[in-house]
Amino acid sequence: MARVVVDVMPKPEILDPQGKAVTGALGRLGFSGMAVRQGKRFEIEVDGEVTDERLEQVRQAAEMLLANTVIESFDVRVETPIEQATF
C-alpha cells in the first residue's frame, strides 16, 4: 500500500478568509512576519502499487472532486511514508 498526497490550495487571486484570519491571529500572538494561506491536504492510501496509471487516476479524482478548479489549484505526489505524529 502506498500513499499519494494531494495538496489543494486556494488560487492566489481568490479571497482566503481562513488564511487571513490565521495571519492576523499569529500577529496578535507575537509571531510576526508570517503570511498564511490555508488549503487542504488529502492523504490517499492507494491499494496496490502506485503505477503511472494509478497516479493518473488520482489526478483525475483530484480534478473532478478533491479540488474545485474554479478557485483552487492542486498538486499530486507520491509520498514515502513519513512518520505520523511528528510532534
Binding site: P17, L65, V70
Partner: protein, 226 residues
C-alpha cells in the same frame, strides 16, 4: 392542473420540507425528488434546497453534484427548465457549473443566521418576476460558507449581463464579492442564492413574507407557458 415543482432531497438536505411547503402555499404541486433516482418525475421546475448535503464535507455541494438526479437536472436546465438553488442548492449549482463562481467560507468564519436585507437587481428570471426592480426585501440568511467568489472577468460579465439577481444591503454578511447574494445563468432560468426564501412565506415563523414572490413568480411562468 397546478404545475408540479420538484424539490430534491440529498443525504443531509435540511430545508427540503420547507421548500415543499413553500411550493404548496404558492399553489403549485410539490413533488419530492430523491437524489439517487435518475429521474425528475415529469416536474416543470426544480428546487435544490438548503442543508448540509453530505455534511458539507470536502466542499459544500461537491459530493451531491455527482448524484444521479443531477445528470437529469443538468439536461433539463440546459433545455430551459426553471431551477432554483437555495444555499446548499446554490453551492451544488456552482459545483455542477450550471452557475459560475464558487462559495467559500464566510469571512467572519462563523455560521451566520440572520434576517438579511437585500435588493432585487433583476426581475428577468422566472424566480424573481413578481418583484419590483430594485425592491428591498428581507430574507433569512443562514450558512457557514456563503461568500460568493469568482474571477474579475466573470464578475464583470455577471454585472454587465444583468445576472446579479440579488445583492446584500446594509452590510455584507459573509464577504461575498460585490455584495452578491444571488445570480442566474445566461438564459436566466437557473437562479442560485444564499438566503432562504422558503423561510419567508408564513407570518408565524418567518421575519417577512418576501419569500412568497419567488414561488408565485415561477408558478406564473409555468402557468403562462402551458
Amino acid at each position: 392542473m397546478a404545475p408540479r415543482i420538484g424539490v430534491v432531497t440529498f443525504p443531509g438536505s435540511l430545508d427540503d420540507s420547507d421548500a415543499l411547503r413553500a411550493v404548496r402555499l404558492a399553489g403549485a404541486e410539490p413533488v419530492p425528488l430523491w437524489h439517487a433516482n435518475d429521474t425528475l418525475d415529469g416536474v416543470s421546475a426544480v428546487i435544490l434546497p438548503g442543508g448540509f448535503s453530505y455534511g458539507d464535507y470536502l466542499r459544500c455541494g461537491a459530493i451531491s453534484r455527482f448524484s444521479p438526479v443531477m445528470d437529469e437536472l443538468i439536461k433539463a436546465a440546459g433545455a430551459g427548465m426553471p431551477v432554483l438553488g437555495i444555499c446548499n442548492g446554490f453551492q451544488i449549482l456552482c459545483e455542477a457549473h450550471l452557475l459560475p463562481g464558487a462559495l467559500i467560507r464566510n469571512d467572519v468564519r462563523t455560521f451566520v443566521c440572520k434576517d438579511q436585507a437585500m435588493r432585487v437587481e433583476s426581475v428577468d428570471t422566472p424566480w424573481s418576476s413578481h418583484f419590483e426592480q430594485g425592491q428591498e426585501i428581507t430574507i433569512v440568511l443562514k450558512n457557514g460558507e456563503g461568500g460568493y467568489v469568482a474571477d474579475q472577468g466573470t464578475l464583470d460579465r455577471l454585472e454587465g449581463e444583468g445576472r446579479v439577481v440579488f445583492r446584500y444591503l446594509h452590510g455584507n454578511p459573509n464577504g461575498s464579492y460585490r455584495d452578491i447574494a444571488g445570480i442566474s445563468n445566461e438564459r436566466g432560468n437557473v437562479v442560485g442564492l444564499m438566503p432562504h426564501p422558503e423561510h419567508n412565506v408564513d407570518p408565524l415563523t418567518g421575519p417577512s413574507l418576501d419569500g412568497t414572490a419567488f414561488f408565485t413568480s415561477v408558478l406564473d411562468f409555468l402557468t403562462a407557458k402551458v
